[in-house]
């Protein structure tokens, strides 16, 4: 024991490896206050994981080919974008989980089950999927931090031309803006997009391109007819941009690329490009995925070097290297660091209702719980509380494994 204490702290180890996908993970996101993780792979499968139990609660084949991106819309909607030219909106809230299949694609290899029950499909859009650029989404009106509004904008490369992007409105399924692209420069295909509100009326689009450019376009939505103005176009990457991430306060975006650079682009307050940015050479090329934590303190990259690297947002210094995967990491994601608050309450009320069959004597329970001084939580609830309060990082790799880490 003493020897262990004296030596340097052991390298961080994952808390758990989620095994279920049999092909590479392309996208993942935490949802419902870290109680669920959504992962998607290159065979078109999507798995919704229960984080406290580390087991799938739903798995289905969402697309006929690789899933490019996933997102969560409101409490009960999941958006998936596949290379089968489809962008789909599924209804899968807590109530719908119970009826879902939990057989994973890995199980299915043995022929245990070939057909999956799919969640209720709410919307289906025909989209471009010639390249690997996943969609991005934003509330359709300003003033909302997350995708909680009843209608949203989604953005993805145009069906006609992979260099330009279109913005559609859901659930209306209307194209609202089309053909947004850089006019004067050769950008090649769009690789990664972020759509967000700069202020009450300015809708902004950050796009990373095959050429290594990162461009910011802004449109004044208060006017019926207006141009998408390009606020800046920077080429700090020698290789195609692979991923861009938006800070929670919408003040900057980070871009990663097939080269080793990470660039922090400050978003100017008006159209004049003041070119404030920071370039960091990480010496690790091929940073497939970059994400910023919701408190804006950390960001992480997942790269072809099989590592997840965690950096301080402030200093841009590397804080930790998460080494476990044996193959390239294609997707990283942070859990929320916000305290559970009311969200947790609703989560628990859901779960107690499902677990109510174990409560044989409600009257007794009531008397007992009122008797106890503090709030009454079952073992399961205490575990869920603990699990959802962790500061999670999830990483999905080429081999289909998803590693779960708790860090900082």
């Amino acid at each position: 024991m003493s020897n262990q204490l004296q030596s340097s702290p052991p390298p961080p180890a994952p808390l758990f490896i989620l095994r279920g996908h049999s092909s590479q993970i392309h996208a993942l996101t935490f949802l419902r206050q870290n109680s669920r993780l959504l992962t998607a792979d290159s065979d078109g499968y999507v798995i919704l994981w229960n984080i406290p139990t580390r087991r799938p609660v739903a798995a289905w084949k969402a697309h006929e080919s690789a899933v490019l991106e996933v997102a969560v819309w409101g409490d009960n909607k999941i958006i998936t974008h596949g290379r089968d030219n489809k962008l789909l909106v599924w209804k899968l809230g807590p109530e719908e989980e119970a009826g879902m299949d939990t057989i994973t694609p890995a199980d299915a290899q043995l022929g245990l089950g070939r057909t999956w029950r799919k969640p209720w499909l709410l919307n289906s859009l025909e989209v471009n999927a010639l390249n690997f650029c996943g969609f991005a989404a934003s509330p359709s009106t300003s003033g909302h931090a997350a995708l909680t509004t009843s209608s949203i904008f989604v953005v993805f490369p145009s069906n006609m031309d992979s260099e330009s992007v279109d913005i559609w409105k859901l659930p209306e399924q209307q194209r609202v803006y089309a053909g947004i692209k850089a006019r004067d420069i050769q950008t090649g295909m769009a690789m990664s997009l972020r759509l967000f509100w700069l202020d009450e009326k300015s809708l902004a689009l950050a796009a990373g391109y095959e050429s290594g450019h990162v461009c910011l376009y802004v449109r004044d939505t208060s006017q019926e007819v207006a141009e998408w103005k390009m606020w800046f176009a920077r080429k700090e990457h020698s290789q195609p941009v692979l991923s861009i991430a938006l800070s929670p306060d919408h003040r900057y975006v980070l871009s990663s690329s097939a080269d080793a650079n990470i660039v922090k682009h400050s978003i100017p307050t008006d159209a004049s490009d003041d070119s404030r940015m920071k370039i960091m050479d990480t010496k690790h090329s091929g940073q497939q995925s970059i994400r910023i934590r919701d408190d804006g303190k950390l960001f992480a990259t997942g790269g072809w070097d099989k590592m997840v690297r965690v950096y301080s947002m402030k200093t841009m210094k590397e804080l930790a290297v998460l080494k476990w995967h044996r193959e390239g990491v294609y997707a990283v994601g942070f859990g929320t660091t916000k305290s559970p608050g009311q969200n947790a309450q609703s989560v628990y009320s859901q779960q107690t209702s499902t677990a109510s069959d174990t409560v044989a004597m409600p009257e007794l329970v009531q008397t007992l719980s009122t008797a106890s001084t503090s709030g009454y939580l079952t073992l399961e609830q205490r575990r869920d509380e603990r699990e959802t309060c962790r500061h999670w990082i999830a990483a999905g790799a080429k081999d289909g494994k998803v590693s779960l880490w708790e860090i900082y």
């Binding site: 024991m1 052991p10 180890a13 994952p14 758990f16 490896i17 095994r19 049999s22 406290p52 139990t53 580390r54 087991r55 890995a106 199980d107 290899q109 043995l110 245990l112 476990w324 044996r326 174990t358 409560v359 044989a360 004597m361 007794l364 329970v365 007992l368 719980s369 106890s372 001084t373 503090s374 009454y376 079952t378 073992l379 399961e380 205490r382 575990r383 081999d399 494994k401």
Partner: protein, 1022 residues
């Protein structure tokens, strides 16, 4: 001596008058002559020796007749009795001279009279007279009334029987005095004191010195009637010191006399009655300070009850009781019960008068609460609860007593007396229980106790032989887990102190600690103990964990209650917190490296986890992702493996799984994850691979898709630690298990019988039709003219087709033609495959392939067991791998040479002088080669020649006889020959084999297979 005058008898029941009179008349007729005869013999101044026999006969007759007639109530009336007593009184006069037998008979006759006529009708005069007479008889002294017993010589030692008879008479006399209502007249006057005193002293004397049990019990009974029923309290007071001291003398262990336990109990009971009578609180509540000395005869004998008297006497009584209470550890429950009743009744009736004795009484009762006899324990408990309920002083005394016991606990524990240790702990336990029943706030006591318990356990664990020895409590093996439900769950053996002599002591500590668990501050104590368990060194940490677990058991209470009350719902927040803390601590402790120092701690942690699982029940499933692996991990740890099995069993049943197996299968994902993390972290403890192997075995093929990264980790470990024999063996053990399951996951390959049949079919010479010939010619032409195609084939690192390898000798063009369709179609299909997208192999296939490709690298190990393992693994993987030819043949290419090398040239020895290990390696190699021959078929035909020549060079193989190992090797080698024939080996080889068979060299059971193969393929009929 005067003969009492017969008084007229009055008949109370008129109807019976005639009958009783008739009977009495009859009796008189019977008795008169005897009485007369006895009178004649006894009335003489001296009874001569020659008349004693006659006298004895008369007395026997008299006794007989008396007994017959006294059966009828009222027949022998007072008058009649006086008549009969008259001759007897003569004999009493001569008691110094007559033989014991005569005295005894006389006394029996007197007894008969006392029980009949005088039972209720004794007169005062008679009673006084008899009292004196009997006392002296018992004492064996001179005639009363005359000179008192002058010298010791004049006393005649009388027999115990006579004495018993005399005391029986005393008993009857006292009874009759009592019943006749004349006790005041007989004993009441102060004048009677000396004679009564004499009687009391005499009886006590007999009691103390009596050898026989009957005599002892008789004297006790006589004393009881006299002292408790006949005498006034004031009179008893006068004799009290004597009575108490003599009774104590009787009761206390004595080397000279053996006291039967029943008599002891009776004596204690007597003492109880006397003390209760004398010291009754009501009687003594208003004692005078002093009384004036009464004047008169015998006044000096009289003791007056005053406050001073009470004080002085109480002090003496206390001393006496202290002595007697030493018997509370007496082996016989009857004695302890008597002590219990003594304490109880004294507390009940004399707690004020004997207030100085309350402490010792309470103490005795508390000890008896801890008695192993349930009846006694229950009675003592009730008595104390009652006493403490009505008397605050008792409560205070109780607390004080327990306090001092706790303080002296460690001192007792340091001694060598295991029984005393058990008693000390039980006493405290009983006391603490009482305090809680009485609602006494004993928090300070419990804290103190907690410290002392800890200290005591520490002392115990330092004792010699207390160290953990490797004892298998049950012979539980992992097979138990593989099997399904048994009748009942296993229980943990005691782990803290395993020395036989300490079992009881520890058992008593356990119930004490569990008792402590019922106290209000138990949870905080348990919490502290858990802290110690994580931080302290051995053995403190084990002790603390042990205390914590057992205390929590106490907190939770009866196991049976747990089914009713859902713990998760019904417990306090603090209790849940401490339970969770215990869970965390246990998991943490289980994750520490296993070594000799940690064994106890980890075994206890397993027990703790099982306990927590029990308290939570099914919701415990929610913790399995953290808790299950640490338990499973210990299946592979020596010393704790048994505990792990028990823990799994208990957790499975607590969580509602039908068996430990189901528990493991249902949570295989958690286990795999934990093992995978262990393997990646290069924690080279052997437990992880062992656990993995077991899980694979019980989970079956469904687990294979989830194994890829684990197997990868195993491969990496094997790469990094090449040559580490133990580790490598362990890792290949895992691979063996994975391969076994992966094999089941692959279905499309032929069994050995099927492949034999297939090969025979292929090799059968066929009549070649024209079409066939042209077709094959076409194929040949199609392949031949395209040199680029061949170049491509040659460029590949591993040649896939035998004809594509020019170095391979002996592949003639003709043979290629002979190989006909099969190979050409293969060629075709492989071309097609190259064009069409090849379906990727299943994960099971990849796993087997990767595993097999590793084998050649490790076959160079010097360890025979590992080589056998590897070769057997190869034999296992080849058939399923043959399902994808493109992947299979390169594998054969890579493994063939090293296997042949292992068969022919293994380092340790040559064929001739092989040891057992070596033979087993060769057997495994021969098997592997045969499997390769069968499944690779013609691909290896050219390679067979090398094997054949090698075998020939080794020579003499076929001549072997002797050892079983060699016989088996020979069998396997012959199997290999068959394989080679079926692989379509060269003419030379087949010829050689034919020759062997022909010469009858192949004598074993394999010969039939060989013959068949040869016949079918080459038309050889041998």
């Amino acid at each position: 001596m005067d003969i009492p005058k017969a008084s007229s008898s009055s008949q109370s029941q008129p109807q019976l008058v005639s009958e009783v009179d008739v009977l009495r008349k009859k009796a008189f007729q019977d008795l008169q002559p005897i009485c007369v005869a006895i009178s004649q013999l006894a009335a003489k101044p001296q009874i001569y020796h020659d008349s004693t026999k006659e006298l004895q006969q008369y007395l026997e007759t008299l006794l007989n007749v008396l007994q017959t007639h006294s059966r009828h109530y009222g027949v022998i009336n007072n008058h009649f009795a006086d008549y009969i007593f008259f001759p007897l009184s003569h004999i009493f006069r001569h008691r110094q001279d007559v033989p014991d037998r005569i005295m005894e008979l006389t006394l029996d006759c007197l007894h008969a009279l006392l029980c009949s006529a005088w039972d209720r009708g004794a007169t005062v005069e008679l009673a006084k007279q008899l009292l004196i007479l009997l006392t002296f008889t018992v004492e064996g002294a001179e005639t009363p009334g005359g000179a008192p017993a002058s010298t010791a010589n004049s006393k005649k030692e009388i027999s115990e029987e006579t004495r018993t008879a005399a005391i029986r008479c005393c008993f009857a006399l006292f009874k009759s005095i009592d019943k006749s209502g004349i006790k005041d007249k007989v004993f009441g006057s102060i004048e009677a004191l000396p004679s009564v005193g004499h009687t009391v002293v005499t009886l006590l004397g007999v009691l103390v010195t009596a050898q026989g049990s009957d005599l002892q019990i008789m004297s006790l009974e006589a004393l009881e009637v006299l002292v408790c029923d006949c005498l006034e309290v004031d009179a008893v007071v006068s004799f009290l010191p004597g009575i108490v001291s003599q009774l104590c003398k009787f009761i206390l262990p004595n080397s000279k006399y053996r006291r039967p336990f029943r008599n002891l109990a009776a004596a204690i009971k007597l003492l109880k009655r006397i003390l209760c009578r004398v010291f009754d609180d009501v009687e003594n509540s208003e004692l005078p300070d002093a009384v004036g000395k009464s004047e008169g005869k015998n006044a000096e004998m009289r003791v007056d009850r005053t406050k001073a008297w009470l004080k002085a006497t109480a002090g003496q009584i206390k001393m006496a009781l202290e002595g007697i209470f030493r018997l509370r550890s007496h082996a016989k429950p009857a004695v302890r019960l008597a002590l219990l009743e003594l304490s109880r009744d004294l507390l009940d009736t004399c707690s004020t008068s004997l207030s100085n004795c309350v402490g010792i009484l309470v103490e005795t009762l508390v000890i008896l609460v801890g008695d192993q006899d349930e009846d006694i324990s229950q009675k003592a408990d009730n008595a104390l609860l009652y006493a403490a309920g009505v008397n605050n002083e008792v409560k205070g005394t109780l607390v004080e007593a327990i306090h001092s016991w706790i303080l002296s606990l460690t001192r007792v524990i340091e001694s060598n007396d295991e029984a005393a240790k058990v008693a000390a702990v039980q006493r405290i336990n009983a006391g603490i229980q009482l305090l809680s029943s009485l609602d006494v706030d004993s928090e300070i006591l419990q804290d103190l106790l907690n410290q002392n318990v800890q200290q005591s356990l520490r002392i115990l664990s330092h004792e010699k032989g207390a160290q953990i020895s490797q004892i298998s409590p049950y012979d539980v093996s992992t097979d138990l887990i593989l099997s399904d439900r048994k009748n009942k769950t296993l229980e943990f053996p005691e782990v803290l102190l395993r020395h036989q002599s300490q079992t009881d002591t520890l058992g008593s500590f356990r119930s004490l600690v569990q008792q402590l668990g019922k106290s209000p501050n138990a949870l905080s104590i348990a919490e502290q103990q858990l802290q110690v368990a994580t931080r302290a060194q051995a053995p403190e940490n084990s002790i603390s964990l042990w205390i914590a677990v057992n205390m929590m058991r106490g907190v939770v209470g009866d196991d049976s209650l747990m089914d009713i009350l859902d713990f998760d719902m019904g417990s306090s927040a603090l209790q849940r917190r401490v339970t969770d803390e215990m869970l965390t601590v246990s998991v943490d402790l289980l994750s520490r490296p296993s070594n000799a120092e940690n064994v106890t701690l980890q075994a206890l942690s397993l027990e703790a986890l099982s306990f927590i699982a029990k308290t939570y029940g099914t919701p415990f499933r929610n913790t399995l992702s953290e808790t299950l692996y640490p338990v499973v991990h210990h299946l592979g740890t020596p010393h704790t493996d048994q505990y792990a099995i028990i823990a799994l069993d208990q957790i499975a049943s607590a969580c509602g799984y039908s068996s430990a197996r189901e528990l493991l299968v249902s949570n295989a994902d958690y286990l795999l994850n934990a093992i995978a993390l262990k393997l990646t972290l290069a924690e080279l403890e052997p437990q992880a691979p062992l656990a993995l192997r077991m899980i694979i075995k019980i989970a079956g093929p469904a687990i294979v898709p989830y194994l890829d990264d684990l197997v990868q980790a195993v491969f990496e470990t094997l790469d990094s630690f090449h040559g580490y024999e133990k580790l490598t063996t362990l890792m290949f053990g895992v691979l063996e298990a994975t391969s076994e399951e992966a094999r089941k996951a692959i279905k499309d390959y032929p069994s050995e019988n099927e492949i034999v049949t297939k090969r025979i079919e292929e090799l059968k010479p066929k009549p070649i039709t024209e079409d066939d010939f042209l077709a094959s010619l076409d194929d040949v032409l199609k392949v031949r003219p395209d040199p680029t195609d061949e170049d491509v084939l040659n460029l590949e690192p591993t040649p896939q087709k035998p004809w594509g390898k020019p170095k391979e000798p002996g592949v003639s063009l003709e043979e290629e033609e002979d190989e006909s369709n099969e190979l050409t179609t293969t060629d075709d299909s492989s071309k097609q495959l190259a064009e069409v997208k090849v379906t990727p192999p299943s994960s099971a296939y990849t796993l087997l392939q990767k595993t097999s490709l590793l084998i050649p690298n490790h076959l160079t190990t010097p360890s025979p067991p590992l080589r056998i393992l590897l070769l057997n693994l190869l034999t296992l993987t080849i058939p399923p791998l043959s399902s994808r030819e493109d992947d299979f043949l390169p594998l054969i290419h890579q493994t063939w040479d090293i296997t042949v090398y292992t068969l022919l040239y293994s380092q340790t020895s040559s064929f001739g002088e092989a040891d057992n290990n070596d033979i087993n390696v060769k057997i495994a190699a021969a098997k592997a080669l045969k499997t390769m021959c069968l499944y690779a078929g013609t691909f290896v035909r050219g390679r067979c020649i090398k094997v054949w020549e090698g075998l020939k060079k080794k020579g003499g193989v076929w001549e072997w006889s002797g050892g079983r190992g060699r016989e088996r090797l020979r069998l396997e080698l012959e199997g290999l020959l068959e394989g080679m024939v079926l692989a379509g080996a060269e003419e030379d080889v087949v010829g050689g084999i034919v020759e062997l068979v022909g010469k009858g060299r192949i004598a074993s059971g394999k010969v039939e297979g060989l013959r068949r193969a040869l016949r079918e393929i080459g038309g050889w009929v041998i």
